[in-house]
C-alpha cells in the first residue's frame, strides 16, 4: 500500500444516522451511530417522515463526532462517501444533500455508495484478509440477496427475494404475535424458550430459480396458523411460533447458501445485513459451512446493523476505481446492486 487513504462516510438510508472514518477500506477509526429505534417503536415501525426529520437534527453532530473520535479533521480526509440508495428517499436525501455540500465546501471528492454493497463490505472491516471472490448472503429489513462477489464492487446476483425481505417478515410476524417492533431481536429472544419443531411452517422456494427467496408465503403461513387458532378458540405459544418461524427462515437461508456453495464451487461464504445479527441464523450457516469444508464470515453485530463504517469500506474501493459523484447526485431509493450513476 503506497499511501494511506482515509474516507469519511455518511449513512442515512433508514432509521440510523451514522458517520465513520475508515482507513484503506479495512480499518475503522471511528463508527458513530445515532439510532432512532425508540422513536419509531411508538408507531410499530419506521415512519419515513419522522426518520428524515431526525436525520436532519443529528447529522452534523454525528459527522463531527466521527471526525473527533478518529482524531481527524475534514482536511485530513481523502474523500467523503455517502449512501445514495437503496432506502427511504427522504432519509437518503438528508445524507446526500449534506454530504454533497460538505464535500463541495471542503474541496473534497465525493463517492456515492450503494447501501447493500456497503453491507457486503462490512466483511472487509471484520476480516482484513478477506478478498473476493466469495459468496455473500445479504439479509436485512429491506433486502435479501444471495450474491457472488467477483471483485470489489462487482457482484453477480444469484438470487433475491421476490417479495418481502427476511427482516420484513421478522417484523410482520413479531407484530402478529404481539411482540412489537423491532421484530428481529424480539423474535430471537422469544424463540429461545420455544420449540422450533412445534409448528411445521413451509419453506417456500422456486423450482425455476433455486436461489430465489419468498418470505411473504412464510409470513402468510404464520398468519394463517394464528387465525386458525383463533377460530378454534385455541391459544398458541408465542415462543413456539417465534422459534418455528425463525427455524423456517434459518432453513431457507442455509439451504440456498449450501446449494450456492455447491453450484459455484466457491469455498467461502460471508453473511451481511441486519438479520446477520440473529444468532440462530449465524450458527446454522456456520455449521453448514463447517460440514462442507467452507470458510464462514460474519461481521460483528455492530457492523451488521446499518452503519457508516461499511459505507466507508465500500466507498474506499469505489474511490480507488476513480468513481466520483457529481454535484447533481440524487438519492435513488430503488438502487440495485451493481448499478452505477
Amino acid at each position: 500500500m503506497d499511501k494511506e487513504i482515509k474516507i469519511l462516510a455518511i449513512e442515512s438510508s433508514c432509521d440510523e444516522t451514522a458517520a465513520a472514518v475508515v482507513k484503506n477500506g479495512r480499518e475503522i477509526c471511528s463508527n458513530i451511530i445515532s439510532s432512532q429505534i425508540e422513536l419509531h417503536t411508538l408507531y410499530g415501525g419506521v415512519v419515513p417522515e419522522i426518520a428524515s426529520r431526525k436525520h436532519m437534527e443529528k447529522i452534523d453532530q454525528v459527522v463531527s463526532a466521527a471526525l473527533k473520535e478518529a482524531g481527524e479533521t475534514i482536511q485530513g480526509m481523502d474523500a467523503i462517501a455517502v449512501t445514495y440508495g437503496p432506502g427511504l428517499v427522504g432519509a437518503l436525501l438528508v445524507g446526500v444533500a449534506h454530504a454533497k455540500a460538505y464535500a463541495w465546501a471542503a474541496g473534497k471528492p465525493l463517492v456515492g455508495v450503494n447501501h447493500i454493497e456497503g453491507h457486503i463490505a462490512a466483511n472487509f472491516l471484520q476480516y482484513p484478509e478477506l478478498t473476493p471472490p466469495f459468496l455473500c448472503l445479504v439479509v436485512s429489513g429491506g433486502h435479501t440477496h444471495l450474491v457472488r462477489v467477483l471483485d470489489y464492487g462487482e457482484t453477480e446476483i444469484l438470487g433475491r427475494s421476490r417479495d418481502d425481505a427476511a427482516g420484513e417478515a421478522f417484523d410482520k410476524v413479531a407484530r402478529a404475535i404481539g411482540l412489537g417492533y423491532p421484530g428481529g431481536p424480539k423474535i430471537e429472544r422469544a424463540a429461545k424458550d420455544g420449540d422450533a419443531k412445534a409448528i411445521a411452517f413451509p419453506r417456500p422456494g422456486f423450482s425455476d430459480a433455486p436461489f430465489d427467496f419468498s418470505f411473504s408465503g412464510l409470513k402468510s403461513a404464520v398468519l394463517n396458523y394464528l387465525n386458525e387458532c383463533k377460530m378454534k378458540g385455541l391459544s398458541y405459544s408465542q415462543a413456539d411460533v417465534a422459534a418455528s418461524f425463525q427455524a423456517a427462515v434459518t432453513d431457507i437461508l442455509t439451504e440456498r447458501a449450501e446449494l450456492a456453495l455447491s453450484e459455484t464451487g466457491e469455498k467461502r461464504l460471508a453473511l451481511a445485513g441486519g438479520v446477520a445479527s440473529n444468532s440462530a441464523i449465524r450458527s446454522s450457516l456456520q455449521a453448514m459451512c463447517e460440514a462442507k469444508g467452507a470458510d464462514f464470515y460474519v461481521p460483528a453485530p455492530i457492523l451488521c446493523t446499518d452503519n457508516a463504517a461499511m459505507i466507508g469500506a465500500a466507498g474506499y474501493y469505489e474511490y480507488r476505481k476513480g468513481n466520483r459523484a457529481a454535484l447533481n447526485l440524487n438519492a435513488v431509493p430503488g438502487l440495485k446492486i451493481g448499478e452505477r450513476g
Binding site: 411508538l42 408507531y43 415512519v47 417522515e49 419522522i50 428524515s52 426529520r53 436532519m56 437534527e57 447529522i59 452534523d60 453532530q61 459527522v63 463531527s64 475534514i74 428517499v89 427522504g90 436525501l93 438528508v94 445524507g95 446526500v96 444533500a97 449534506h98 454530504a99 454533497k100 455540500a101 460538505y102 464535500a103 463541495w104 465546501a105 471542503a106 474541496g107 457529481a326 454535484l327 447533481n328 447526485l329 440524487n330 438519492a331
Partner: protein
C-alpha cells in the same frame, strides 16, 4: 460580509450571493426538477461565475420553513453541510418573511401564500414598518376560507404573491371583500436574494445560529404523528 442565500422550500430552487448591500449573483429556477439534482450545481455555478472562493462565504442564510418537507430538508442539509465545512454560522430565515421582502416598501398589506397541499396554504400577513416586513399574523397552514377571512378582517388592500395565491386565484377573487392585487411574475415566487437580504439584517441583530443546531420549521406534524395524536386524544390517553 458575504451571505450565501438558499431557498428550496417550494417548486423554486434559488441561490444568491450577497455582499453587504449588493447581490453579486442570483440563480433561480421555477421548474419541476428535483432540488437534490439542481441546487448544488446552481450554487457551484454561481460562485464559479462570480470568481468567488467557497471559503469567502461568511454566512449561509436558508429558508427555514414553512414549505415542502423534502424541499426544506434539501435546502437545510445543503446549508448545514456548507456551514460545517467552513465553520460559518447559519441564518434561518422564515420562508414567508423572505417572500414578503419581495414586495419591500409596500404601503399595502403583503400576503405570501404557498401551496401547502391538502387544500391549504402556508400564509402570513405582513405590513412594512421601518423598512422591514412585520408580521400582522403568525405564519402557518390555513384553509383558503380562513386565510381570506383573516385578510378581510384587516379592511385594507392586500398584495398577494406565491404559488398558493396563483393556485387559488379565482377562489380568492370570490372570497376577498378587500381590495387586492396579485404580484407580477418577477416578484411572486421565493427568491434566494430576498432570503440573503433579510438574512443579513437578521444576522446583524444576532439571529445567526450554529448549523449543527439548525433544523427546519415544518409547521405541521408528520401524518403518523397527527394520527397518533388524534388517537391519543380520542382515547383520552396521556402522551408518553
Amino acid at each position: 460580509m458575504k451571505v450565501l442565500g438558499i431557498d428550496s422550500s417550494g417548486l423554486v430552487a434559488s441561490a444568491a450571493l450577497l455582499e453587504e448591500e449588493s447581490i453579486l449573483g442570483e440563480y433561480s429556477t421555477n421548474y419541476k426538477k428535483t432540488h437534490s439534482e439542481t441546487l448544488m450545481p446552481m450554487i457551484d455555478t454561481l460562485l464559479t461565475q462570480l470568481g468567488v472562493e467557497r471559503t469567502a462565504i461568511d454566512y449561509v442564510a436558508v429558508a427555514s420553513g414553512p414549505g415542502s418537507f423534502t424541499g426544506l430538508r434539501i435546502g437545510a442539509a445543503t446549508a448545514k453541510g456548507i456551514c460545517l465545512a467552513l465553520h460559518v454560522p447559519l441564518i434561518p430565515v422564515p420562508t414567508l418573511d423572505a417572500m414578503a421582502m419581495n414586495l419591500w416598501g409596500a404601503a399595502d398589506l403583503v400576503c405570501p401564500m404557498m401551496d401547502a397541499r391538502r387544500d391549504q396554504v402556508y400564509t402570513g400577513i405582513y405590513a412594512f414598518s421601518e423598512e422591514r416586513p412585520v408580521r400582522k399574523t403568525e405564519p402557518g397552514p390555513l384553509s383558503l376560507a380562513e386565510a381570506a377571512e383573516r385578510l378581510n378582517g384587516f379592511g385594507r388592500k392586500v398584495l398577494l404573491l406565491g404559488d398558493g395565491a396563483d393556485r387559488f386565484k379565482e377562489d380568492l377573487k370570490n372570497k376577498l371583500t378587500v381590495d387586492y392585487a396579485f404580484a407580477p411574475a418577477h416578484l411572486n415566487r421565493q427568491r434566494a436574494g430576498s432570503v440573503a437580504v433579510l438574512g443579513r439584517l437578521l444576522a446583524l441583530e444576532g439571529g445567526a445560529v450554529s448549523g449543527e443546531s439548525f433544523a427546519p420549521s415544518y409547521y405541521r406534524l408528520s401524518q403518523a404523528e397527527r394520527e397518533r395524536k388524534k388517537r391519543m386524544e380520542s382515547e383520552n390517553l396521556e402522551d408518553i
